[in-house]
């Protein structure tokens, strides 16, 4: 227990350091970008009609001419207090936008993450247990094809088939059009999330499936599986008794570590499905020079990805007896 607390503290410290680094790098990149706070916030035409005094006033307000370090410290101070600034494009507090967008994205990503994890693991077991069989070849073929398919293209194809031709699911957005926010049910949200989530998970499956297959083949070639065979165990029983036990941990770890990929994929998928999530907001913010929003999204995504990896690490320590008990001795 004492070890676990130490482990968590150490990792939290690491997370703070990482976020600091991410913040510094992002801030540095943005400050060398050609975004001019005045023309971005006031607009090019309005800027032309302003007097020199007005411009000087605005420049002082936006901190033009101040050294980057001063600007960074000012921004970071506010950020830590919870004030992420006001979004240029949405004219709302950044924290409010992120809260709303994150809710949408989390539904989408959780669905995709669970689907890809469970399906990928099952397919990987089928392929690995019967290596060289027709099922194995089909599953491998699927995985390799999907891995080499761009996710946005796949999203377009699925959108075409299921939303345009078959009309099973809505074509985009996260809620029905023309319905009051209060009347939107969870089922409505689910119906809108299902196709983007499916698209995301289809690509996620390949990763976890190929990994599981490889691990299971290793296990099936191990000495202890040979011994199980010598004891008269059939393949099915061996997979259930020894296979799953030995591949579940690495699979869980990989799945938690793959949050970053799902996150990256969600940006493209949200764009295709016009799904108002964090990914779409990131694209909008980037294209629209919305600096406060872009900065905040970067920090939040880094935190989420780190949290995924962190969870994987903690789970390993808690579940694997070799790590759990190894410390005690």
């Amino acid at each position: 227990m004492k070890h676990l607390i130490g482990f968590i503290t150490k990792n939290l410290l690491r997370m703070v350091l990482l976020l600091l680094c991410v913040a510094i790098v992002t801030f540095a990149l943005i400050s060398i970008s050609p975004i001019d706070p005045l023309s971005a916030n006031v607009g090019q035409t309005a800027l032309g009609s302003l007097s020199a005094e007005q411009i000087a006033k605005l420049e002082e307000y936006w901190g033009v001419g101040q050294p980057p370090v001063t600007r960074f410290v000012a921004w970071a101070k506010d950020f830590i207090r919870g004030d992420m600034g006001v979004s240029l494009l949405y004219r709302q507090n950044v924290s409010a936008i992120i809260g709303e967008r994150l809710k949408n994205s989390l539904l989408l990503m959780t669905l995709a993450w669970l689907l890809s994890g469970i399906l990928g693991f099952l397919l990987g077991i089928i392929a690995g247990a019967r290596k060289g069989s027709l099922a194995d070849k089909l599953i491998q073929g699927y995985c390799l094809t999907i891995s080499s398919t761009p996710v946005f293209w796949l999203a377009l194809i699925l959108l075409l088939i299921f939303a345009v031709w078959l009309k099973w699911v809505p074509i985009g957005l996260s809620v029905p059009i023309g319905v009051e926010a209060a009347d939107v049910t969870f089922l409505d949200r689910l119906r809108h999330a299902i196709l983007p989530a499916l698209t995301l998970s289809i690509t996620g499956i390949a990763n976890i499936c190929l990994h599981t297959r490889e691990k299971l083949i290793d296990v099936m070639n191990s000495d202890y599986v040979l011994f199980a065979k010598a004891r008269g165990d059939k393949t099915g029983r061996i997979v259930r008794r020894h296979g799953i036990r030995n591949i579940l941990l690495p699979a869980i770890t990989l799945q938690f570590a793959s949050i970053s990929e799902i996150f990256g994929g969600s940006i493209l998928v949200e764009q295709v499905f016009s799904y108002p999530g964090l990914g779409q907001a990131a694209v909008t913010a980037g294209l629209g020079s919305d600096v406060p929003l872009l900065l905040a999204i970067t920090i939040i995504s880094a935190a989420i990805v780190f949290a995924g990896n962190f969870t994987a690490n903690v789970l390993y320590g808690v579940i694997d007896p070799r790590m759990r008990k190894g410390v005690k001795r």
């Binding site: 191990s222 000495d223 202890y224 040979l226 011994f227 199980a228 065979k229 010598a230 004891r231 008269g232 165990d233 008794r241 020894h242 036990r245 030995n246 694997d320 007896p321 070799r322 008990k325 190894g326 001795r329």
Partner: protein, 309 residues
């Protein structure tokens, strides 16, 4: 009536030498032995000579690219793949080499009773463990918490759990100090005393001599001699020039090694496999050499009269 009889067993592997050229690498060429109930028989050969394959062949668990020929009899009836599937893990058990044969993420107890549920299984596991001097905490341990000697005894426990009639022990002693090794072999002797047949696969001739009833010597894919353990008391009672050279090489004897080395698996001279190193080899040795009885044992040597003292 022997419990297990192996006649002219050969084992080969399909191998790709060039991109699409397949050849068969014959690792075991002619292996003969038999085990009676209540008897402990050792098959002795140098490390990496393919002895372990015998265990896998008997149990029908050779890898997919291996094939075997020859005859196996268990209880005087042919032991084919179908029959061994019903017997392995019950009447015929394997005691593997070491800790890697235990699932690293499963507690020892569950590996001994192999997933049988209920109090009876648990009680039986504990009583077997205590027979081998292991306390009940061992059942709750994971393999990484066991020492090498404890892991060996856990593996033996898993073998005796099903009350087998034939025990095949594949190198059960390497890495153990001499007392621990003797104790482990003592456990096999106890099984033989309960009328099980025990086949010990080992490279340790001295240990085999001390603990087994009969010793079969394996050289470059052939069994070349079958001797009683006491035949190793002096060199004159041994039947094959290689076995005699082995005797000379033992530390308590002359401790002197012969020149040359065992030919690799892909080299197969005409006639006697040992002829290139044999001091007494003659033109006669170029023909194929039968495995013949001699003084209560067997020998694969055409000049056996030469050694019939």
């Amino acid at each position: 009536m022997p419990l297990l009889k192996v006649e002219n067993l050969s084992i080969s592997f399909r191998q790709y030498t060039k991109a699409f050229q397949q050849t068969a690498l014959i690792v075991v060429r002619a292996l003969d032995l038999s085990i009676n109930p209540g008897e402990m028989v050792a098959i002795v050969g140098s490390s990496g000579s393919g002895k372990s394959l015998l265990a896998h062949a008997i149990l029908g668990i050779l890898p997919y690219n291996a094939s075997m020929a020859g005859r196996l009899y268990y209880d005087d009836k042919p032991l084919d793949k179908k029959r061994v599937e019903t017997l392995r893990g019950k009447e015929i058990v394997l005691v593997p080499q070491g800790i890697t044969y235990l699932d690293p993420l499963m507690k020892a107890g569950r590996q001994i009773h192999n997933g049988q549920r209920g109090k009876a299984a648990h009680q039986k596991t504990l009583s077997i463990l205590s027979r081998y001097g292991l306390d009940e905490k061992t059942a709750e341990r994971y393999p990484f918490e066991l020492s090498g000697g404890m892991a060996r005894r856990v593996l033996i426990s898993s073998a005796v759990y099903s009350e087998p009639r034939l025990v095949i022990a594949d190198e059960p002693t390497p890495g153990l100090h001499i007392q621990a090794a003797r104790r482990v072999l003592g456990h096999f002797r106890e099984m033989a005393e309960k009328d099980a047949g025990v086949l010990l696969i080992t490279h340790d001739l001295e240990l085999a001599r001390q603990t087994c009833d009969r010793i079969v010597v394996f050289y470059a894919g052939y069994t070349i001699e079958e001797a009683l353990a006491r035949d190793f008391d002096q060199v004159e009672t041994l039947r094959h020039p290689y076995t005699r050279a082995l005797w000379q090489a033992m530390p308590q004897n002359r401790f002197s090694a012969e020149d040359g080395r065992q030919p690799a698996a892909h080299i197969n001279p005409e006639g006697c496999i040992y002829a290139p190193r044999c001091k007494d080899a003659s033109d006669l040795c170029r023909q194929s050499i039968p495995y013949q009885p001699l003084r209560g044992g067997y020998v694969r040597c055409i000049r056996k009269e030469h050694y019939d003292t």
